[in-house]
Symmetry: C2
């Protein structure tokens, strides 16, 4: 049995599992796609990770993450560009569908958001040829505006697509519902992203009310207020039918539970609150 | 001596002062404008509040707040509309420059953000004639997207101005830097707001890194990453030269300090990090 269309971002079970353990636990539940983080891959070595993934016929919906371009000076930006090329190499080695980019916020001490945004565009332009030569799509992930200062100064789908349009082929967006659900322009921009062939990934979780921590209080799908099915319907209508990838940072709840319980909840909630009913998600 | 162009939103010294005490403490520092909240006014009665304000020649930059329209049913929406009319009466009684509206988030149990936004537009349309008859401008305050679920489903200046354009005269926006500083369209929308004569208020504080609480961890101007002078310059260029109103919710820092220390910090930081240097802020 397999659950089609579901991927587990390994941040969701970061404290519970290594990559190898996560793959086994996913397969036991019929989940055949994952998205690891670079440090998780590096902990066992890229070769070993690639071997685990290949031998288990696992799909890798993305590698998390490149980006983090804005820096205090040109040396810093150059270092970020080099590091992103290594991330591209790693994503290629594990046959990831794309490399997700969290672009970075303000350099330390800076209040100049337009300058940070220019550095991001410069950084992306510098790594894009390297990614194109390796046929690896780059996926800009616009982050919620509450992360503009310290994590990503690309904060809406519109802004990410403007950057994509500037840069041309080989770059698109990762649409994470947590970051974009509130946006009055969301549905218009999803359609625009689809028309441009820019949708490379779809991440899911939920927005809790109240949210007790800016970073580590994401909810399981169904426990919050995001209209997951409407967003999925718009994304499919725009032409993207790839997996939905569960990415939950939850220091006080899901990270404290047994990994198997977390993965079971992901699978169940995916089927009940995220997956559209026009086709079966459970196959043989 | 007076500090021109500075107003204190009384939420900033909520635990320290009543309205009467806050007025005295502001005047002692040369601050001649305030913005009270409805519960602060109601605690002493609207008549008494109006008398204190008038006899001390205090400018009231706004009354906080009306709004909170989305409701589970029509009875709820009707009650919200009635309550907003009372808020308009109170704002008129204390001769406030405008009534600030925090429009409300999702009704309990709802995930339908477009429906909530429609209810907001309906609610605004219902109270606008009442406000016009009393010559009281209504100021929509777009709130940061992190409040979309529970406080306000109008989350960008663009969205607020779209609603204003729909509704016509007598309604504009309160631009609070905390809510809008991250927006890639900020400067374009400030210009648009100015061209339409829609800028009714300018609120200031700062975005701290890290931010430890979604609601109650606002920073004093200069302690965070918001480019306050650039935003002020854009607002003045757009034609608004009214006061900058300090609004800081800070449960773990400023709310724990003596009120006089807080007000002194507001005055000093206003002069050093917010006020533009082309004219004097301290007059006789």
């Amino acid at each position: 049995m397999s659950i089609q269309g579901l991927s587990i971002n390994l941040a969701t079970v970061r404290p519970q599992y290594s990559v190898a353990q996560a793959v086994d636990a996913c397969l036991a539940l019929g989940i055949t796609a994952i998205a690891p983080w670079r440090d998780q891959i590096q902990a066992i070595g890229v070769k070993e990770a690639a071997s685990i993934i290949r031998s288990n016929k696992i799909r890798v919906t993305c590698l998390c993450r490149g980006g983090m371009f804005p820096a205090a000076d040109k040396t810093g930006l150059a270092a970020a560009i080099e590091d992103n090329k290594r991330a591209i190499d790693e994503a290629v080695a594990i046959q990831a569908d794309c490399l997700v980019l969290v672009v970075g916020g303000l350099p330390k001490g800076s209040r100049d958001l337009p300058a940070a945004r220019e550095m991001v565009a410069d950084g992306l332009a510098a790594i894009l040829p390297y990614a194109r030569e390796r046929s690896l799509p780059l996926a800009i992930e616009p982050l919620h505006p509450m992360y503009a200062a310290d994590r990503a100064c690309i904060n809406t789908l519109e802004q990410a697509l403007d950057v994509c349009d500037l840069l041309g082929e080989g770059i698109g967006v990762a649409i994470d519902v947590y970051h974009v659900w509130w946006d009055p322009n969301l549905y218009k921009q999803i359609a625009r992203a689809g028309a441009g062939g820019r949708i490379l990934a779809h991440h899911i979780c939920d927005w809790l009310v109240p949210t007790r921590d800016l970073l580590l209080d994401r909810g399981m799908m169904g426990d919050g207020v995001i209209d997951l099915k409407s967003i999925r319907a718009a994304i499919e209508k725009a032409g993207y039918r790839g997996p939905q990838e569960v990415e939950i940072f939850s220091s006080e709840n899901w990270w404290k539970r047994p990994g198997e319980e977390v993965l079971s909840a992901c699978a169940e909630r995916f089927l009940t609150t995220c997956h559209l009913q026009d086709k079966l998600a459970i196959g043989e």
